[in-house]
């Protein structure tokens, strides 16, 4: 879970991990089964859920969901089909499969994007402010649904956000990014993962701490200008 204010390079980080831009220095290494290889979308399966869902408007929901498999020319076995159907079911998009993205509401499009990412069985799942375009109620539902399906598959996930609540709800490990060349301001393991607004003092203290870290980065930004 990467937390940071706007302009600190969160999206740049996602783009670099996704392979759409190359890093100016350093390497990204992915360790799998004790083998470390440079991260590469041709070798590793990288699922991505951008802010605007990134569904191709000329493909139906189903075509969008299966596109990663088509691109990778993966053989879809009987059991895989079952797994895919289960993902459709748990995200409640079975009835939307033949619709085009333009016909979907924000929440429906978000669920379709989540389905697409999980169907490809990602080695790495990238999420760039995935819930910020949704309204309050839909956002809460989408987060809950996401957590449910994430717990079934548990892919390595990097989620960037500017929302402290979201970080505390969905993050196992929270990293606060500074504005200066993507330095790390603060790191913590999150004991509140999966708990929806717990009412303990420690939770509020953690929230305060993160807020302070975020504000400090902003002040730093102002003085450097």
């Amino acid at each position: 879970m990467i937390l940071g204010t706007s302009g600190c390079g969160k999206s740049t980080l996602v783009n670099t991990l996704a392979g759409t831009i190359t890093s100016t220095s350093g390497d990204i290494v992915y360790v799998k089964e004790q083998q470390s290889k440079p991260l590469n979308p041709k070798i590793h399966k990288i699922g991505i859920i951008p802010q605007n869902c990134g569904l191709l408007p000329w493909k139906t929901v189903k075509e969008n969901c299966l596109l990663p498999l088509r691109i990778r020319k993966e053989q879809v076995s009987e059991s895989r089909i079952k797994e895919i159907t289960n993902i459709y079911k748990s995200l409640d998009i079975e009835k939307l499969l033949h619709k085009y993205p333009k016909e979907l509401s924000g929440g429906q499009a978000q669920r379709a994007a989540i389905a697409r990412a999980f169907i490809m069985r990602p080695d790495l799942l990238l999420m760039d402010e995935p819930f910020s375009a949704l309204d309050e109620i839909t956002r809460e539902e989408a987060r809950e649904l996401f957590l449910k399906i994430w717990n079934q598959h548990k892919p390595t996930t990097v989620l960037v956000t500017h929302s402290i609540e979201e970080a505390l709800y969905l993050g196992n490990r929270i990293i606060v990014m500074g504005t200066d060349k993507g330095n790390i301001k603060h790191q913590m393991d999150n004991p509140y993962f999966g708990q929806l607004s717990p009412q303990s003092l420690e939770y509020l203290a953690a929230k305060q701490l993160l807020r302070k870290q975020l504000i400090k980065t902003e002040v730093g930004e102002q003085t450097s200008e």
Partner: protein
Amino acid sequence: MNRLIKHGIIFVQGFLLINLLWWLASTVLDINVIPNPILVYKQFPTIFEDNIYIHIGASLKRIGLGLLLSLLVGVPIGILMGYSKIANKILYPLIYFSYPIPKTALLPVTMLLWGMRDGSKIAIIFLIIVFQVIVSVRDSVSHIDRTMYQVTRSAGANKRQIIRHVTLPAILPELLTNIRVSLGTAVSILFFIEAYGTKHGMGYYILDAWSRINYIDMYLGIIVISIVGFILFVSIDIIADKICRWSSL
């Protein structure tokens, strides 16, 4: 289907209205250059004796080949210009400069290069359409949302797959709109390019009747070319409806 019916109604309305105006003009003016439409329509079956199909076929072949050639050349160039800054820098001034030049002015040149037969005719149609295609493809490529590439590339797509799944579907609606307009121009240009070196084609049919001072036949030719132009227009509409439903939602 709904759209088809709507088109049908508009077609009938327009058809009736224009014939009414024609009939009025022929009655009021009473000159043989504007014959009575009823007289013309009575002669309609004679076009089949004149093998009108051969004429329609010859014209459609020229238009079709010209269109095909401009797509084969224009789409890749447009995509290249959309993606490569260098290609755009080199080619854009060329396109910008030659876009407004009336391509029919190049008719003598194409005749000298590709002869009096179909070569020069197809070349002119190609020149008229290809610039439209290049500009429309380049513009629609530059309007593609960046996240479309992000999701496709991170899924492991190579360049060819990105073109196939992102670029080509994204440019299609705009391209079809442009082709529809260009085809109209191509039909009207038939008068120019079928005025020489051929004995077939709808343009030739009209010009030939005109030179024989056979006004009835001339009007029949005009009716046929109008119907063919309209059918081309509508079929592009139907194709767009079928394969680009996503864009009109």
